[in-house]
Symmetry: C2
């Protein structure tokens, strides 16, 4: 039996997981991401943790297929990671560097693509020939899986669907510097922003009005209770999300759309709401099935391992 690792490198924690060669998850652990000093300590820290784990398990180099890693930035096909502000990193070849540190084959991809690959392999997208994972979190990200592989794009920016412009007359700027991006309406941040705008725009009663600060989850909870402001805001969110998803489908015509990220914990109201608007915006011959992501925070380590699982022995 041989083994491999999947690593999900985030701005706060590095998640690590070990897998058997046939894809069974064995162990999961995490270490803090030390972003100080241009993130110079990040890869050595991971290498040390990996080394310690291998020693503990009694695994030798020849027992290991390789290490897959998802990173929060654009990655080209050679493993060069673009300047990554989340980690403090300048542009560098992470594949080469980490492979030299560990003496093992390393494959690197963008974290959204890794999560998409994980969901496609073992999660909400399994069984579909092609799928788009739409991650509704602080921002809106995505990953497109065609024939079992992530679509990277020429600059590693395929699947940056949060920045599709769907409301060209939006007066407020998105973090990317444009206006009217899907992320401004469908992310957790966007949902709170829209709710605040609704509250300010009317004198309608709302449980949210009494809260000092409310979260996206509070908005979903209030809507569940019939709160008019929350219900109206979420209708607008579903409308925007439906349009975004339909627009993705007329470009790549995937078999399935999988909704993930923190916002997707809202579950079936979100799924049903988005689907209702989606049907109104989608080109009839490019429709898709809908599913919820299933792997939660583990999607990234699953997908990262899947990258190396298919390496030749």
């Amino acid at each position: 039996m041989r083994y491999g690792l999947g690593i999900d490198l985030g701005g706060t924690f590095v998640k690590l997981a070990s897998f058997t060669e046939d894809g069974v998850l064995l162990d999961k652990w995490q270490i803090p991401t030390v972003t100080e000093n241009a993130g110079k300590q990040i890869l050595p820290d991971i290498a040390a943790s990996v080394e310690a784990y291998f020693r503990e398990k009694g695994w030798k180099r020849e027992d290991i297929i390789g290490i897959g890693m998802g990173v929060p930035g654009a990655v080209d096909k050679n493993g060069i990671v673009d300047q990554c502000d989340n980690l403090g990193w300048p542009t560098q070849n992470v594949r080469e560097t980490f492979s030299r540190m560990t003496g093992l084959p390393v494959l690197v991809c963008n974290d959204a693509n890794a999560a998409a690959l994980g969901e496609s392999w073992k999660g909400g997208g399994s069984g579909f020939e092609s799928m788009v994972l739409v991650t509704l979190g602080t921002g809106v990200g995505g990953g497109i899986i065609l024939n079992g592989k992530p679509l990277l794009g020429i600059n590693g920016s395929a699947g940056e669907i949060g920045h599709m412009v769907i409301r060209k007359d939006e007066p407020i700027y998105c973090s990317c510097g444009k206006r009217g991006c899907a992320e401004q309406y469908c992310s957790a941040t966007g949902i709170v922003r829209l709710t605040k705008a609704q509250l300010e725009g009317t004198s309608q009663e709302s449980v949210l009005r009494k809260m000092q600060d409310f979260t996206c989850k509070d908005v979903f909870d209030a809507a569940e209770e019939g709160d008019v402001i929350a219900v109206q805001t979420l209708e607008e969110v579903y409308d925007c999300l439906g349009q975004l998803l339909a627009n993705i489908c007329c470009v790549v015509n995937p078999q399935a759309i999988v909704l993930g990220g923190g916002v997707s914990k809202a579950g079936s109201p979100l799924l049903e709401g988005a689907k209702w608007y989606f049907e109104r915006y989608v080109y009839h011959a490019a429709s898709a099935q809908f599913a919820l992501a299933q792997l939660g925070n583990d999607a990234g380590v699953y997908g990262a391992f899947k990258l190396v699982m298919d390496l030749p022995a």
Copy 2:
């Protein structure tokens, strides 16, 4: 030396072209498309024309690599063409049928994908690793080429970008039954429609006002002469086109966008106009180079032949 054929099956004419095995176009000809009687005569007519051409050239079956064909409808990976109203066809396996008729290997794909493959191989998209052909004609179509192959999508509807919704508040319906599709603004039909709306909305002088009926080309010509109505309309067209192209780029992040179809004959004003708005809508890490299509009506036969060119000997 072996040879192959590329066929572009349209609703009025079937265009045929012969190529050497290394991709040099030898002859081009066309025959009418007889759509009567559920289009039953179409494939036998093509087969007879092909047979006559082979006889004239003295080519035997073993001299022929195969025949590629682009058809105006959705095609699955087995060569089954969805019900095709333009041709009067019910759903049928065109690859199998035409291969039996001719005794030759046949590959079939959607005509927009064939044109995109042609432009990618020998036209405006040559030299780019990935590209999207955006065909601005009576409607707006498209084809996406990744690693030298058309992206088909699960129902053969990838690249149906004309039906991306970019103006959700549009009151007028698109031919597809939705409202606010890019095709309603960026097609030749859409440009004439927008111009008429501009003319009706103001009393502004315009050379177009005096014309009984004007075409999309008249609008570009008038704008060239400084006609205010035409200039204003085209600004709106470029705005819509820029948004459409930017939205495609954040999904697939292609290296190049190639503009084709009748409207693209407007040339550099169109290219520059679309690019200006594109830069305002595109996600910074997903930008693309712009080019004009170069093969005109031959793009389809080039791409159709390219399908079979790579068949094993």
